[in-house]
């Protein structure tokens, strides 16, 4: 899946450019409207879909599990603190949801990595990721699944 932009609705405000965590929403040089420059790098986080004040961004589903006629659309009303979803299934069934939107201020929960301690060589070569295992809120080592518990004859 990846996002795409309805050009008639987009007014080139730049909110999607600002919020995209993959940095793939950019401004087209010919018409100054938003465009997903790298659809295969889109992780369908819906950040841009929700941030767009003109509802100009939609997500295209893969044909194998979301063929023809489905739709997932969002209306974000920040002054009310609501985010509404309309899910339309391909058999015509629709579902509507309303949720509160996050009120976290910009940048407040972004770790300031440049101000942190420089990792040692051992930490760099470790299998552990940043803040692991402490950040996972677990004691000791990462949990593992023993290979002999795998189903035989099934390959993943």
């Amino acid at each position: 899946m990846s996002t795409f932009v309805y050009m008639t609705r987009c007014d080139g405000c730049g909110h999607c450019v600002d919020i995209c965590p993959s940095d793939i929403m950019h401004i087209d040089e010919n018409i100054r409207r938003a465009v997903n420059i790298e659809p295969n790098f889109c992780w369908e986080c819906y950040s841009c879909v929700k941030a767009c004040p003109n509802h100009a961004i939609d997500v295209r589903g893969y044909a194998d599990f979301a063929p023809m006629g489905h739709s997932v659309r969002v209306r974000r009303e920040e002054e009310k603190g609501t985010i509404s979803w309309k899910i339309k299934f391909r058999n015509g069934t629709t579902k509507d949801f309303v949720s509160p939107i996050t009120t976290k201020p910009w940048g407040k929960f972004i770790p300031k990595l440049t101000e942190g301690e420089k990792p040692s060589e051992a930490e760099i070569n470790s299998q552990m990721l940043y803040t692991e295992p402490k950040g996972l809120n677990i004691d000791g080592e990462l949990p593992s699944v023993p290979k002999d518990s795998f189903k035989k004859g099934v390959y993943y």
Binding site: G12, H15, I27, R32, N54, E77, G81, S84
Partner: protein
Amino acid sequence: MMSINPYAALAETISPLAIQGFILAMLALIVIGTVVQMIHHKNVTYFFNNAKKAKLTAERELGVGEKTSVILKTVVHDIATTAELGVGKRRVAHVMGMYGTILFWVASVVLVFVYTGTGTAAPTIWPMIWHIGAIMTCVGGYWFWLFLRVDVLAEAHPWYRIIKADLFVLTLLACATFGLAWSYTQSLNLENRWDDKVFLILYILSNIALFGGVYWSKFAHMIYKPGAAIQKNLAEADGSRDNLPPYADAPKQFGLGIKREQPKHY
């Protein structure tokens, strides 16, 4: 300067018919550019297909009266005040540039066709409208182009980076700027010096670039954006809403909401 018809002095050296012919040629360029763009980009086909799709998912059929009311409301609220841009500097700059351009163009047509070479002096109001229109276009346009343009504001590109999408705004700004400079140098009584002629040539060239570049530029957004606003509001009224959810009936526990920030967190 503000109360002088800049075309009146020009009519002493160039036939008024030639000036009128130039304006008609520019109108023809707009029509040709828009029609070729419509055929090539299939914008109108897209609009009609979208309207058909919306009709299929409509929850109720709108009567002629309701449709007219929605269209009128869209014209007054959305189009006349560019409501699409929300509240903020972009909207103020756009409204200023939009009305400035309309005043500038309308006054140009009136001054050339009614008061140039006809022996009737233009009443002060029309040259005033021409100059005020050009000044408003410059203020709104330069504000937008230098500071508010999305490539500068959200993408953090430098203001001097020029792309194809700038063709419309830059040629429009060139028209207004060179038009004002031409009018100003004319008013200085420089006794047939080169100054006003240079600005006149630049004014003519920027007009040719603006109207001749309709096919490649964003000129047609003046036609398509109002069309899209009407289609959007009709879709809201008939319940199809482009598959969007209805407006939320916000429960109290959702809090007071948040304030949208400017997209400049690069």
